[in-house]
């Protein structure tokens, strides 16, 4: 069953007629994901690769009974798309969009909570349960089915580690990209808890980076509540303080959020921390 998504997830793509949305919807379908439809305001009634396109999420959910939605629309429209999905009763909303203003995300996250919807992202590569389904842009080639759960703030770093695991013969239960923004819907701890409770996950790889304190909170959780072994990598040891390293959330601010303090906290919690992402497989063996 893995976590969050499987072969039975019914997925809508918000922005399916766009260039990005359409491209990834096709790859998701090719992977075996049940894409039951899409939403683009003003294009309701059209078809996309045999799936119906709707004007609104309410209409799409009413017809398709989708439980999951992928948001691929630009930053100006993404917060509204997130809230529209939550309002339509979608339980799992995955938002890829980068560059959404933090103020908009604070409102969207609060709204999702009030509607009981789980939001993953924004600014994330999505979720993939190898061999079953993928919702997002994680390339199919980076993972085989298995029993290691992967949770990460970053896209390509995740591909790098997934690929190294695959080459070492280690499979993955589910990959969750939680995103590199300061305000996100689902945190490391949320995902660690899901992996801890998932019978198909035996070990976990956590890929963090500088900025914020989510990895420190995760270390607390690992220490106090986790029985499964955790291997970790923290990016940004060589990053200077006060500079934002690409991701909006990746900044060491006022002495807080450095890689060293996160590595120390994770090691103290019993996680095995790699200084090279290609060493992660050896820590999981």
């Amino acid at each position: 069953m893995a976590i969050l998504i499987d072969r039975n997830s019914k997925v809508l793509v918000q922005g399916i007629t766009g260039r990005q949305g359409g491209f990834h919807a096709r790859l998701m379908m090719a992977y075996g994901t049940k894409v039951v439809g899409g939403v683009t305001p003003g294009k309701g009634g059209e078809w996309f690769e045999g799936a119906p396109v709707f004007d609104t999420m309410r209409a799409a959910v009413r017809t398709t009974h989708a439980d999951t939605s992928l948001i691929t629309v630009p930053a100006r429209f993404a917060p509204d798309a997130i809230m529209e999905a939550a309002d339509a009763g979608i339980k799992l909303i995955i938002c890829l969009t980068e560059h959404i203003p933090v103020a908009d995300m604070m409102r969207a996250v609060a709204f999702c909570k009030s509607r009981g919807s789980r939001l993953i992202g924004p600014n994330c590569p999505g979720v993939m349960t190898p061999g079953q389904a993928k919702v997002g842009i994680i390339p199919a080639m980076v993972a085989e089915p298995g029993n290691v759960g992967v949770v990460s703030k970053s896209g390509t770093l995740t591909y790098e580690v997934g690929f190294a695991m695959k080459n070492a013969g280690i499979g993955i239960s589910t990959i969750v990209g939680i995103g590199g923004d300061p305000v996100i819907g689902t945190t490391f701890v949320d995902v660690l808890e899901m992996f801890e409770n998932d019978p198909e996950t035996e070990k976990v790889a956590l890929l963090g980076e500088i900025g914020g304190s989510a990895e420190i909170v995760a270390a607390d959780y690992i220490k106090n509540a986790m029985t499964k072994p955790v291997a970790a990598f923290i990016a940004g040891r060589s990053a200077p303080p006060g500079k934002r390293m690409g991701h909006a959330g990746a900044i060491v601010d006022g002495g807080e959020g450095s890689a060293d303090e996160k590595i120390q906290a994770l090691e103290a919690a019993g996680a095995r921390v790699a200084n090279n992402p290609e060493a992660i497989p050896s820590l999981l063996a």
């Binding site: 933090v102 604070m106 709204f111 390339p139 300061p182 909170v217």
Partner: protein, 386 residues
């Protein structure tokens, strides 16, 4: 995007927060004229994007207009932590009875705005947070509801604000929240908020940082950017839509994705630190980079004359390695790099990409299979040319 003190305070004034009647001077003569007009004493304050300007001698109290001229001459052109002072704020000296700290920022773990306030203002808030965290009152704001009156009363009461000032404090706090919210600020800070001898509240110093991702809807603030303190290469990169930060090392890095870009930097340091070799920059070319973008990135990396070697690390997901390889060839023919380049292409269409590179037979190009190998080769190449 950081605003200068004067920009921050003028923004506060637009939202109804009382500030001193100061003006900005770019020459000593202008400072003298402003001082005469305001009436002495005045404070001359360097406007630079670094902290600790007071300790560096960038803030001085002038007793008359001549002194204002002299101090402005001292401060203008002064270098503070590598930044040259190009303008000063000339403010009337405030009659300070009490200094208060008041700020609104994003609480990223709670996903809510956070008000921080303290009756012990004036000093460095990080220092106060370490020494006496209980002296800072923290109040989170529901992002859907906004700031309520009961919260302003709670804050005033909990911080020990004298009751006589509750009304004006509440009004300033509501204005600051509007300013924070309507300006898409990630920080709106008044330090100090002063209670004057006359019993008025006055925002004597201010700092505002605007969310870069919201600048598209803040045109009046976006034009206030002062890029004079940033390296030219960073300005060029911003215009090209490339995420780039200049660092001090010798290995120029070109990577797709922010997390992997940081990791690649870390790897050069991991293998090069013993020989004082490390990353020359952070650079994320983004997803699906075009040949033009790869060329622009290479040009920016090579504009740093400390660079002894370029390390290109691409893990193709959406980005296709064959397209990146074509981009590298175009870039090389335009930019003609005179340093070795270690290229590691992995993921989508990697074998096609590597074939394009090897067939082109460009001197100085070294291919690598893994990230570890790429970092080690780049360090070795940089060491050879050190």
């Amino acid at each position: 995007m950081k605003l200068h003190e004067y920009q921050s305070k003028f923004l506060f004034r637009d939202f109804g927060i009382p500030i001193p009647a100061g003006q900005v001077a770019k020459t000593p003569a202008e400072a003298r004229a402003i001082a005469s007009q305001l009436g002495a004493p005045v404070v001359i304050k360097a406007q630079v994007h670094v902290g600790g300007r007071g300790k560096a001698g960038g803030v001085k109290l002038a007793r008359d207009a001549d002194e204002a001229h002299r101090y402005a001459a001292d401060i203008l052109g002064m270098e503070i932590k590598g930044l040259v002072v190009q303008q000063v704020l000339v403010d009337p000296a405030a009659d300070i009875q009490q200094e208060i700290y008041l700020a609104i920022t994003n609480d990223r773990s709670a996903g809510m705005p956070l008000i921080m306030s303290s009756i012990e203002g004036g000093m460095d808030i990080e220092e106060l947070n370490r020494s006496r965290p209980e002296a800072i009152i923290r109040e989170r704001i529901d992002p859907i509801l906004g700031l309520n009156d009961f919260q302003t009363t709670h804050i005033a009461s909990a911080m020990g604000m004298p009751r006589a000032h509750w009304r004006s404090f509440g009004s300033i706090l509501r204005s600051l929240y509007r300013c924070y919210s309507e300006s898409d600020a990630e920080l709106a800070e008044i330090n100090p908020l002063v209670i004057t001898g006359g019993g008025e509240l006055l925002a004597v110093d201010g700092k505002v940082i605007i969310d870069d991702n919201a600048l598209y809807r803040q045109p009046k603030l976006a034009v206030q950017r002062d890029a004079s303190g940033e390296p030219e290469s960073e300005s060029l990169a911003r215009e090209a839509g490339i995420s780039y930060i200049k660092l001090d090392g010798q290995i120029g890095c070109m990577v797709n994705g922010a997390g992997l870009a940081m990791t690649t930097m870390d790897m050069t340091k991991l293998y090069g630190d013993a020989d004082n070799i490390g990353p020359a920059n952070f650079l994320d070319i983004g997803g699906g980079a075009s040949p033009a973008q790869v060329a622009a990135a290479l040009r920016i990396i090579l504009s740093d004359d400390k660079v002894r070697c370029v390390l290109i690390n691409i893990f193709g997901g959406i980005t296709r390695c064959d397209e990146v390889a074509a981009g590298i060839l175009t870039a090389c023919s335009e930019v003609k790099p005179n340093v070795p380049m270690v290229i590691r292409l992995q993921g989508t269409n990697a074998s096609e990409g590597n074939a394009i590179i090897s067939q082109a037979q460009i001197a100085n190009i070294i291919s690598a299979q893994t990230l570890t190998q790429a970092a080690q080769l780049a360090v070795a190449a940089a060491k050879e040319r050190a």
